[in-house]
């Protein structure tokens, strides 16, 4: 997708309802701008995100997927983000093993008080994905416009 | 590209009327966007209706071929396509292709015969096209008896057409029954197979049965006890059909494809086929 020439990546962010979604709200309260390529999906906890959702996002045209959760130890459900950490560690390592650029996927722990960190992470991540260019390795041609 | 007719590519149909027959059966009237019938069909044939993204399913065409303006389908809600159709409103477009299956032999085996239609529940839908066809060409056929039963009064499909038209026609006897007692119903109460035995028809009739498999099984036994021969009894089958043109290989019983060689079978033909169904 091109806007005024340069490539605008599509980023899907899964945010956990208790911490990172609140962090995103805080970034909004403090008017901390981050690129509009990022679209946030609210999930009860980061451990609700199934690897199928991440692959589905790439299939339907996303160029980068970031998963935000509470800091380990802070999870509202005590152990949710520990499981996320294990699952995503293995999944990302496998995706990279299959040759998919490792900068396309990322996990970030953002607490409800870290609005600035949320905005900064989104800026960083969008730049990293924009640098990689379009997602050619995990795309589904049928879903392309 | 060859110009031969594309079999798998459907036409567009518009639902022009939705009539609620029973709590889980609705009758849909379908025409092409420019108001005409999608295609001509023979009594007992079926058509593949589909909603893009939901799926495709085979439904018997319940309106008679003599009806020129539209085609009707009585559909019971029991799967994802039927569920979606039951939520559809008038004006909703769907896709339709067909006609599929070989029809009831109305112009040869049935001609001049006394006919006995036995239907259970939604089973009336495929028979309604034949009944109305025979009523249209009333003179070609002898006496017509209709035995139709259902779970309860409000499960009788197409109830008002039966009461206002069929009953009033001369030479047509309609025998309605429901499975168990219900106030506001003074007709017969009991299962269709027993009711057929009770009525005791003479055995020169050609019988057409359609309904749940158990009903067909017991009714068939009853008829044979009454002296009927298997060659006089016709039925339609209900199997999973995908392509509708006898190629995708899933609706076969033995070497016969229900969608191409059926769905209408004479009971003796069914006899030869293995009882896979």
């Amino acid at each position: 997708m091109q806007i005024n020439g340069e490539f605008q990546p599509k980023i899907v962010a899964f945010c956990c309802n208790w911490c990172s979604y609140a962090g995103a709200d805080l970034a909004g309260n403090n008017r901390l701008a981050y690129p509009e390529n990022v679209k946030i999906i609210k999930v009860p906890c980061s451990c609700r995100v199934n690897p199928m959702f991440i692959l589905r996002a790439f299939q339907r045209g996303a160029d980068g997927v970031i998963l935000c959760g509470c800091h380990p130890g802070d999870c509202h459900y005590t152990s949710g983000n520990y499981y996320t950490r294990r699952r995503m560690a293995l999944l990302f390592s496998m995706l990279n093993y299959l040759g998919i650029e490792k900068e396309r996927t990322r996990v970030e722990w953002v607490s409800a008080a870290e609005g600035a960190k949320f905005a900064q992470t989104m800026n960083e991540f969008t730049e990293a994905v924009a640098a990689l260019g379009e997602n050619k390795r995990l795309e589904d041609l049928r879903c392309k416009k | 590209m060859n110009n031969r007719e594309e079999t798998l590519i459907p036409k567009i149909g518009v639902i022009t009327d939705v009539r609620i027959d029973t709590p889980d059966v609705k009758t849909f009237r379908v025409v092409t966007p420019d108001g005409k019938k999608a295609f001509e069909h023979r009594p007992g044939q079926c058509a593949m209706l589909s909603i893009p993204g939901v799926g495709e399913a085979m439904f018997s065409i319940t309106s008679s071929p003599t009806n020129a303006e539209f085609m009707e389908f009585s559909i019971k809600k029991c799967g994802c396509v039927t569920e979606w159709l039951h939520q559809a409103e008038v004006g909703q477009q769907i896709t339709i292709r067909g006609p599929y299956g070989n029809p009831f032999p109305v112009d040869d085996a049935f001609k001049g015969q006394d006919l006995l239609f036995i239907a259970g529940g939604i089973g009336l839908a495929p028979l309604r096209s034949v009944i109305n066809y025979c009523r249209h060409y009333r003179e070609n056929y002898g006496k017509i008896d209709i035995v139709y039963g259902s779970r309860s009064k409000d499960d009788l499909v197409d109830y008002d057409e039966i009461i206002n038209e069929w009953v009033k026609d001369d030479g047509i006897d309609v025998h309605l029954t429901i499975d168990n007692e219900q106030e506001g119903w003074d007709g017969h109460v009991g299962f269709v197979p027993n009711y057929v035995k009770e009525l005791g028809f003479d055995t020169n009739k050609t019988v057409i049965i359609c309904g749940p498999p158990i009903m067909i099984k017991f009714t068939l036994q009853g008829l044979i006890e009454m002296g009927y021969d298997k060659t006089q009894v016709y039925t339609t089958m209900e199997l999973r059909m995908k392509c509708g043109i006898g190629k995708c290989g899933r609706c076969n019983i033995g070497s016969k494809y229900v969608c191409k060689d059926g769905p209408v079978f004479r009971c003796d033909e069914l006899e030869e086929l293995p009882d896979e169904y």
Binding site: P51, Y82, R87, L90, G99, R142 | -
Partner: protein
């Protein structure tokens, strides 16, 4: 050449049938050719005597059959388990997939099974007979005279890097028990990891593009025992029956590997049955290697009831971003 002979197994099977401990035996029967061995259920001793077979081609892992077998009757079924099968046996027990009392497991030692593609490559085509003599196989073919091939050269890949000759679950053991071998079974994975991202993508694109989605890998895998697979279930919105885009073959294999991660015992059946010879075991081994390096050595099925890594956690686990770097650069 297997240490334990076919007659010892047949004798044991007949003995257990006669004394009533079991009422049926899961064993092997000859297929069409000598290398074509079919898993079979024997109920009478003379069936066993006439048709029971055990040779270098009995690679099938029986533990998955036990799910259906133990549901049929109340009586016990005899099953012969090679060392790698016993790990799947334990893993299925951990997941309560079959009733342990209804199984009488006999552990049999295994010197490694032959891979028919390697045999055909070595002996040329038109194989009419294979006889095992000492440490090699004598293969007679239509076109040229008999050829002797060393067993070691035609061993299946999973047997060359066999991870353990130790039986971890059995009611009775024929022959003595071996022990765990620290084989270099991750060399192949490390070779792939050493490649660049583009090379890896090209490698997997070429391999996975040949997949015909016949589900053989899923239907034979002892860790893939769902009542209804998520890919066969239209309600799951990821239902996928055929590959109509290169993405879908990656999706199927990544998600299948993820579902068995931490539960796969690396028995190699998926690669054995793949009609397109895709090295599927390299996907599962990558997960095993990562689990070992991130969360400590873990062998699925080593002991029944153990907690698989993906349903466990510690508060100090490695962060995903470092995990990707560690996963890729472990050997570089």
């Amino acid at each position: 050449m297997q240490k334990v002979t076919c007659d010892t197994l047949a004798a044991k099977a007949c003995e257990l049938l006669e004394n009533g401990t079991v009422d049926r035996v899961l064993g092997w029967k000859n297929g069409e050719f000598v290398y074509d061995v079919t898993p079979a259920l024997f109920t009478t001793t003379d069936d066993i005597k006439s048709e029971f077979v055990f040779n270098d081609f009995c690679g099938a892992n029986f533990s998955k059959y036990l799910i259906e077998e133990t549901r049929k009757t109340e009586s016990k079924v005899l099953v012969f388990l090679k060392p790698c099968d016993t790990y799947s046996f334990n893993q299925l027990l951990t997941e309560h997939r079959f009733d342990r009392e209804k199984v009488y497991a006999v552990g049999i030692p295994c010197e490694g099974m032959a891979d028919i593609t390697k045999v055909k490559a070595a002996a040329g085509d038109g194989i009419t007979a294979i006889k095992a003599e000492g440490e090699n196989l004598v293969i007679s073919t239509l076109y040229d005279e008999d050829k002797a091939v060393a067993c070691a050269d035609v061993l299946a890949e999973r047997c060359m890097v066999c991870k353990s000759k130790k039986h971890v679950a059995y009611d009775e053991l024929l022959g003595e028990d071996g022990d765990v071998i620290d084989s270099n079974r991750f060399d192949e994975v490390e070779k792939l990891e050493a490649m660049t991202e583009d090379e890896r993508f090209a490698f997997w694109q070429n391999e996975l593009s040949r997949c015909i989605r016949c589900n053989a890998c899923r239907d034979v895998c002892p860790a893939c025992t769902c009542e209804k697979c998520v890919f066969d279930n239209p309600e799951s919105s990821v239902a996928n029956k055929a590959i109509s885009d290169s993405f879908e073959e990656k999706m199927f294999h990544i998600i299948r590997a993820f579902h068995v991660a931490g539960r796969c015992t690396d028995c190699g059946e998926c690669s054995r049955v793949c009609p397109q010879n895709i090295p599927l075991h390299l996907l599962n081994r990558k997960f095993i290697k990562d689990i070992n390096s991130f969360y400590g050595e873990y062998q699925a099925g080593a002991e029944a009831g153990s907690r698989a890594p993906l349903v466990d956690y510690t508060t100090e686990d490695i962060e995903p971003t470092d995990a990707v770097l560690k996963g890729a650069s472990d050997n570089a």
